[in-house]
């Protein structure tokens, strides 16, 4: 690097960052980062839409480095890059949309714990290098290889704080149930990533309920909103119950599946409530993949149109709170799969 060039300013001036300084990817640092994977450095992962630059093991490692990852995080970044290119996830659509959803990464399995991914107190906020930098690496890949840059190809109205990073693991230590990946049929020792295109979380604080029925009514209410696409299209959602809320259910004998089923039943609004504002359109209601009669005011419109679209996890620290992340309208289905360590 030329002495007259400030390396931090260099990357910011070229729009090669998310607005924060990046770690300068020198050849020496890149070589060290690449020791974090056994994969061939030239292996092609795929084109990142809409820019369609080809992600390879090597340039994914460059972005992991720029984001501040330790080399041990590289397998997770590679796994997530591969996973998010599945057709059903529709990264292409999200890169251009006016909405602001971001790919939330839920990383399960022993490797997540080994590298220090955090699922407890403050897990969706600052302070945890693995969470902060793995998610940031994915964002840098979406911007630098995919050109998902606001005003260039991204028409997002606001963006979202979660577009800087959106990565966590579950709080399996304090949670009462099997992990999300185990609920999908993976083995406890499998290293699995689940990704869902969702908004930043909104909270359901409830320090009053002491039994599941009342508790889940409040959480289900947080899952509905006139302006949420979940009410007007088939749309994914992540509900992250704090261990305290999950414990209330588990102590009453409710399994993860019981809570999941009950939330799918409870969350929703009647046509009468929906049609007064927000995104309600009769045509949209008729286009839903479930039977909804838009002319029947008493017809119940469930938030979750297909139970597979609700990812229920346990995360966060102790306290009476559940985080609810609403989804996108444009047709993105959550994806999950094992990654190579």
């Amino acid at each position: 690097m030329n002495e007259r060039v400030d390396e931090f300013e260099f990357f910011l001036e070229k729009d090669w960052s998310d607005g924060f300084p990046v770690v300068t990817p020198t050849e020496e640092r890149i070589a060290r980062m690449l020791t974090g994977t056994k994969r061939n450095h030239d292996e092609v992962i795929g084109p990142i839409p809409p820019g369609m630059e080809i992600a390879t093991v090597r340039n994914v490692a460059v972005h992991a480095l720029m984001a501040g990852c330790r080399l041990e995080y590289l397998p997770v970044v590679l796994g997530a890059t591969e996973l998010m290119l599945r057709d059903e996830f529709n990264v292409n659509g999200v890169q251009g949309t006016m909405h602001g959803v971001a790919p939330m990464m839920i990383v399960n399995g022993p490797y997540a714990a080994e590298i220090g991914l955090h699922g407890g107190n403050g897990c969706l906020g600052p302070g945890f290098r693995a969470n902060a930098t793995i998610g940031r690496a994915i964002r840098l890949i979406l911007m630098n290889l995919g050109a998902g840059i606001p005003g260039v190809s991204s028409m997002t109205i606001f963006g979202m704080p979660s577009r800087f990073t959106y990565c966590l693991t579950e709080n399996v230590e304090d949670g009462p149930w099997e992990s999300l990946s185990a609920s999908k049929g993976y083995l406890p020792d499998d290293n699995v990533i689940t990704m869902a295109m969702v908004e930043s979380p909104r909270f359901c604080f409830d320090d009053v309920s002491d039994e599941p029925d009342r508790l889940l009514i409040g959480i289900a209410d947080t899952m509905t909103s006139m302006g949420s696409w979940n009410m007007h299209a088939r749309s994914d959602m992540v509900v992250a119950m704090g261990p305290q809320h999950a414990g209330i259910c588990a102590n009453a004998g409710w399994s993860r599946a019981d809570v999941h089923r009950r939330l799918c039943e409870l969350a929703g609004r009647k046509v009468r409530d929906l049609k007064g504002g927000g995104n309600w359109r009769r045509e949209r209601a008729l286009a839903l993949p479930i039977d909804v009669d838009p002319d029947d005011d008493d017809c119940f419109v469930p938030t979750i149109k297909n139970p597979e679209d609700l990812q229920l996890i346990v995360a966060g620290g102790w306290g009476p709170c559940t985080a609810v992340c609403h989804g996108w309208s444009g047709g993105s289905r959550a994806v999950h799969g094992k990654y190579q360590v």
Partner: protein, 75 residues
Amino acid sequence: MCSVHDTVEFEKRGIPSTTIITEAFKKAADFQFRGKGMQGHPYVQLPHPVSNLQPGEIRELTLRFVDEVATHLKG
């Protein structure tokens, strides 16, 4: 911008196709056509927004632009 992607895929298969966007998506459409190797491919640009129009207004908009759509499809 799935519509640009679909147009490109149809055109690659020799099936004439066009993209209909609202003007708010112009930059994204231009970028995507360029990125997918079809810079300058014609598309139809509607005023923004359209999602709040009533059925009669949609019909009127359709009639205003249908000839342009047909022209693009004829190549």
